[in-house]
């Protein structure tokens, strides 16, 4: 990977990161805050769910979604964060150990 490619990727990523805070200076944050936070929650849930079933455009196999499903149930039942995350990893690792990809 040439240096130029790394720098272009870094600059582009930083542009995405700084655009929000810069734009926010000219926006009425008080009024927009609730819809923006909801939009971010919508995006985060979509990211969590899609990344638990797919690598790129392909299905990941059952081990990962099964682990995340266990996490979802535990999180819904208000289990502590540490339990939720460790249970997800443990479930997925155990399934893989049993030969389920």
């Amino acid at each position: 990977m040439p240096l130029l490619a790394v720098l272009v990727l870094a600059a582009g990523t930083y542009a995405f990161r700084i655009a929000g805070p810069l734009a926010a200076r000219h926006l009425d944050l008080e009024r927009l805050r609730a819809p923006l936070v909801t939009a971010a929650v919508v995006l985060l849930l979509a990211l969590a769910v899609t990344s638990s079933v797919a690598d790129g455009q392909d299905f990941t196999g059952w081990a990962r979604p099964a682990g995340v499903a266990v996490a979802a149930i535990l999180a819904f039942r208000k289990a502590s964060f540490v339990i939720v995350v460790l249970a997800a990893a443990a479930t997925t690792a155990a399934l893989r150990l049993m030969g389920i990809p």
Partner: protein, 222 residues
Amino acid sequence: MDRGTLRDIGLVCVADALVGISFGALALAGGLPLWVPVALSVLVFAGGAQFAALGVVLAGGGAVTAVVTALVLNARLLPFGLAAADVFTGRPWRRLVGAHLLTDESLAFTLRHEDPRQRRMAFWVCGIALFVVWNLAVLVGAYAGSVLEDVNALGLDAAFPAVLLALVMPALTERGTRNLALLGTAVALAATPLLPPGVPVLLAPAAVAPLLLLKARRARTP
């Protein structure tokens, strides 16, 4: 800052460290010089995009493809920056430095809090801790990581969606937000096999935007 949040950030740091080690190890095992994974981690600092770029390069793809793929994945940082904009108030350098620390995790920890001071603390502590841990881990992986090339055996690939789920769950107790999130997620899932990685998750907030604005307007009119 409360103990619980610190502990939770610590756990995410441990998980991220293992993934960072695997990133450094994979890059060097693939024949890349040390500076590539190090520069990517310091300057791009976005795990998903780094793995995507690395994957393209190691598969023999061009640098342009690698950059475009990774940038599409990182486009979500723009709406994230808007949602967390209040943590960047103060001196300009805070905005310039803070923006670089914006990640899925630091945003999710920020959204978990309502109080402005706690939001700022959660963002900065998570952002700085992850930046330090991630970059050290990539270095460790580059030098000694061949043992950890397959973090999937540890189920770590399930830990990251689980982190995000656990952090957004409190926000989903509100019915309106939950319905919008489920609708957006359904759209993203349907689009996943069809569109390039990174685009489907952007469709989620886009699909619910009209409903979101309607909801905001209704909340304002008494």
